[in-house]
């Protein structure tokens, strides 16, 4: 049992590292520092956005933008956009800098960190 427990510790630490790197809201910390995310980025440590959480946020995009962001109709596809493009567009909709019909109203519902996490998630999907 002792051996198994140590395995768990190892995987848990690696898991934290993966969770952070998948978000990419900040440059990924090295595995060795991942156990102390609070020191890495205090502002987001209070509410880290895990990949699963990013998935829950991003899944709502597909209702209008189509499965995986591939739209079959008149709403723009987001499937081929880079993470940076998606995040930049959403932030411009949010600020009102970019005109929109509904996206401004939608984007105002998310923090910038959530927007980054959603953008990374969508750009990182296997398509």
């Amino acid at each position: 049992m002792k051996l198994k427990r140590s395995w768990i510790t190892v995987t848990a630490v690696v898991a934290s590292a993966l969770a952070l790197s998948a978000c990419q809201t900040t440059p990924s910390p090295a595995p060795g520092t991942a156990a102390k995310p609070a020191q890495a980025k205090p502002a987001e440590a209070a509410k880290p956005i895990t990949p699963e959480m990013a998935g829950n946020l991003a899944n709502n995009c597909f209702t209008c933008h189509g499965p995986n962001g591939r739209s079959p109709g008149s709403i723009p596809s987001i499937v081929t956009l880079s993470s940076g493009d998606i995040a930049a567009k959403l932030k411009r909709f949010k600020s009102g800098e970019a005109p929109s019909t509904v996206m401004g109203r939608q984007a105002k519902g998310y923090t910038d960190a959530e927007i980054d996490a959603v953008a990374n998630y969508i750009a990182g999907l296997k398509k």
Partner: protein, 437 residues
């Protein structure tokens, strides 16, 4: 990360999870497209979904996308699903039944969902089984109930299933949609079309008013002397300012809305006289559409999933029933805080329920929920409006995020309305692909 590749890590996580009785690891990648991990807790578990509409079909699909090792059975009585969204355009003559009809082939073949064409008649929460109309029983590890609505027959005196042939509700799309369309086609020029709008809460809050709009579009072209009266059990309705502006602009004098305070609440129907009794008056229509008060779908009521008002209370973070553990109620049947009863809401709730079910099967805490709704309405084929909402879970349940969402601007120009009409069609193409594709 040089020593562990991602693949190695996931393998390792899977092994550990299996070795430590599933889920104690506290980490798994269930987000789709990033999967690869199959912790033992959910593997081979059987999730049964009752109802193949926006809620049920989406949930079945997203369960399989998130964890292909799950066994998912969808029980749906109809071979194909006909959507309420866009059925108003069939009534108005610019939409077809074909475009609002969706099959289950993709769920079966592409996603590996077992689709059983049968009627779920009873749920036994302690035995974790569902009895089907065919007599067969099916057992589940987790159950999703997405039965839509039940029309409250008799809530308006005289309005029963027989009366619905004379005065269609057309609030469950299909034969009723075609019946009401036929009656509108047969109506004389100069006739009166009456819509009886239900009290809150009900399926598709802007629906009755969109219906009035697009039927006005039809009548204006083909029977321009006709009028529309909406008899309402409410004093307000979704996107009211935008609807009334649009009516004044597109159909001046054609649509009359009678609020509850003005005596709009219909108490009784008389199908022989095509008459509607309100508190003060009797209204007669050439064509009458009664949208009656509603509750959660029958099976939810029978299974004891609903409260005394007929809707199902749920945990806002997971949509698990607060009445029976292991059962998740989504879509119109559920009580969902500030979310309206819409296809979009059902689709959004379905994804969260799928995520929560998988977490639960793995012995993990649910992942934080995030919900969205957007409802488009057409006032004419090239005139669209919308209401949007972004929701999160608070101590008071599901709430709209302050500063987000809301309705289309009231002062928008014709281009903006045309864009929204275009996006309404795009929305339909996308949500139906996301749900049944």
């Amino acid at each position: 990360m040089n020593k562990f590749t991602r693949r190695d890590f996931l393998k390792l996580a899977g092994v550990s999870a299996a070795a430590t009785a599933a889920g104690t690891l506290g980490f798994s990648v269930i987000a789709r497209g990033q999967s690869g991990s199959k912790p033992g807790g959910a593997k081979g578990a059987h999730v049964v979904v009752i109802g193949g509409g926006f809620g049920g079909a989406t949930c079945a699909k997203y369960l399989k996308l998130a964890d292909p090792s799950l066994s998912v059975t969808l029980i749906e009585p109809d071979k194909q699903f006909i959507t309420c969204p866009f059925s108003n355009y069939v009534l108005a003559g610019f939409g077809t039944m074909q475009t609002i009809t969706h099959g289950y082939d993709a769920l079966r073949k592409k996603h590996g969902v077992q689709v059983v064409q049968d009627f779920a008649v009873a749920i036994y929460p302690t035995k974790r089984t569902v009895r089907r109309k065919s007599g067969k029983s099916i057992s589940y590890d987790r159950l999703v109930v997405s039965p839509g609505i039940e029309l409250k027959w008799g809530a308006i005196k005289g309005y029963d299933p027989a009366a619905a042939t004379a005065m269609p509700h057309a609030w469950k799309a299909g034969a009723q949609t075609l019946l009401l369309r036929k009656k509108l086609e047969a109506m004389r020029n100069g006739g009166t079309f009456i819509i009886v709008a239900p009290p809150n809460p009900f399926r598709c809050p802007p629906g009755p008013y969109e219906r009035a709009s697009v039927v006005a579009h039809y009548l204006k072209q083909h029977k321009p002397k006709s009028t529309i009266i909406i008899l309402d059990a409410k004093d307000d309705f979704s996107k009211r300012g935008l609807f009334i502006d649009g009516w004044d602009k597109l159909y001046p004098g054609m649509i009359k809305w009678v609020a509850a305070a003005q005596g709009g609440t219909v108490k009784a129907v008389n199908t022989k006289k095509m008459a509607l009794e309100t508190e003060f008056d009797t209204y007669k229509g050439d064509v009458v559409n009664v949208i009656p008060p509603q509750s959660a779908g029958r099976i939810a009521l029978d299974a004891g999933l609903a409260d005394d008002k007929g809707w199902c209370p749920t945990d806002p973070m997971t949509f698990e029933s607060t009445k029976h553990k292991g059962i998740y109620v989504i879509g119109d049947a559920s009580i969902a805080g500030e979310m309206p009863k819409s296809g979009f809401s059902a689709n959004s709730q379905a994804k969260i329920a799928a995520s929560a079910i998988i977490a639960d099967l793995r012995g993990q805490a649910p992942i934080e929920a995030s919900y969205v709704n957007t409802c488009y309405s057409l006032l004419a084929p090239d005139y669209g409006i919308s209401v949007a909402g972004v929701y999160r879970v608070t101590a008071e349940g599901i709430k709209s995020i302050p500063g987000s969402g809301g309705v289309s601007p009231r002062d928008a120009d014709a281009n903006f309305r045309a864009e929204e009409a275009k996006y309404a069609r795009g929305w339909y193409a996308s949500i139906t692909a996301d749900t049944w594709g």
